[in-house]
């Protein structure tokens, strides 16, 4: 999977490293902004109310 991705990135090694890092940062940002806030209500901690 990652090998396939690496082979399909264009350019010399340093360009690929930069593209890979940008991809990683973009995915992390998407997780932080959209995915994790959606998941967190289903987590079994953080309940603070009675009733």
């Amino acid at each position: 999977m990652y090998g396939w991705l690496w082979r399909h990135l264009p350019g010399p090694t340093w360009v690929r490293v930069i593209i890979a890092l940008i991809l990683l940062a973009a995915i992390t940002a998407a997780l932080f902004v959209w995915v994790f806030p959606e998941i967190s209500p289903y987590m079994p901690f953080n309940e603070t109310t009675v009733g």
Binding site: L31, F32, M43, P44, F45, N46, T48, T49, G51
Partner: protein, 297 residues
Amino acid sequence: MVDEDEPPRPEDESARLEDESPPEEDESLSEEEGPLQRRRETQRKKAKTRTRRNALANVLGFLGEILITAGVFVALFLVWQLWWTDIEGNAEQERIVAELAWEEPPVAVSAMGEALDKPVLQPAIGDPPVEPEPELRETFAVMYIPRFGPDYIRPISEGTDRPTVLDPLGIGHYVDTAMPGELGNFSVAGHRTTYGKPFNQIADLQVGDALIVRTDMVWYVYQVTEYLIVDPHQMEVIAPVPGHEGRSADGFYITLTSCHPMFSAAERYIVHGELAYWGLVGMGVPAELLEQPEEVP
């Protein structure tokens, strides 16, 4: 296709065959077929094993990558939950308090900008003014808890829904419990961990500690009367008379609820308090805000 590492001499080959093939098959081959055929046969077998091995390696490698990805995902989620939500929550709650832009209590200030002596609020006489019930999600008060540090100030908003109030806005007021100044139990909930954790140090509160609620115009100074740990369904802690379901209100109470133990939903940590006095914001600052509470070992 011939491998590069294919040994050219037959004696080497036989040595290799003994290593890699079952011996009884070797025997039969050597009896019926010539050395060349034997060699081809071995190569074919070897190639077959290699493809099978490669396929297996690919599947295992892919599985491994999936597992590593899942591990990184979980780790990132924890980083987000335990660290990022605090950063976001603290910044957001600070912004909400700043945006209220309420009148500052009167402060005597020197030419150097240093606060000299703030007028101490004198307890007002009579029943406290009742804060009107706000819209859902509206921030109508702020909470000062000197035990949590001199800079502790958090917004209180209407409602206790997690995604819309407790996570983004901080402390939430249980709908249908009393408002500040109203007879009954002013009950609020807040996170003890994550999302800015407004009630992180709730277990440090001692009997007698001040819980100070400020609305636009009024200070309400409560004192902690007891703390307890209950099951999540024990609604009587937010009853008009705390702990006594069904009784009608006979005083001005406050109740704080948060999770217990930390990072768990198993129980709730409850702090009850009672109104000690109230006063108008324009008349000064509660004495409890001007000094740090004594350290309790």
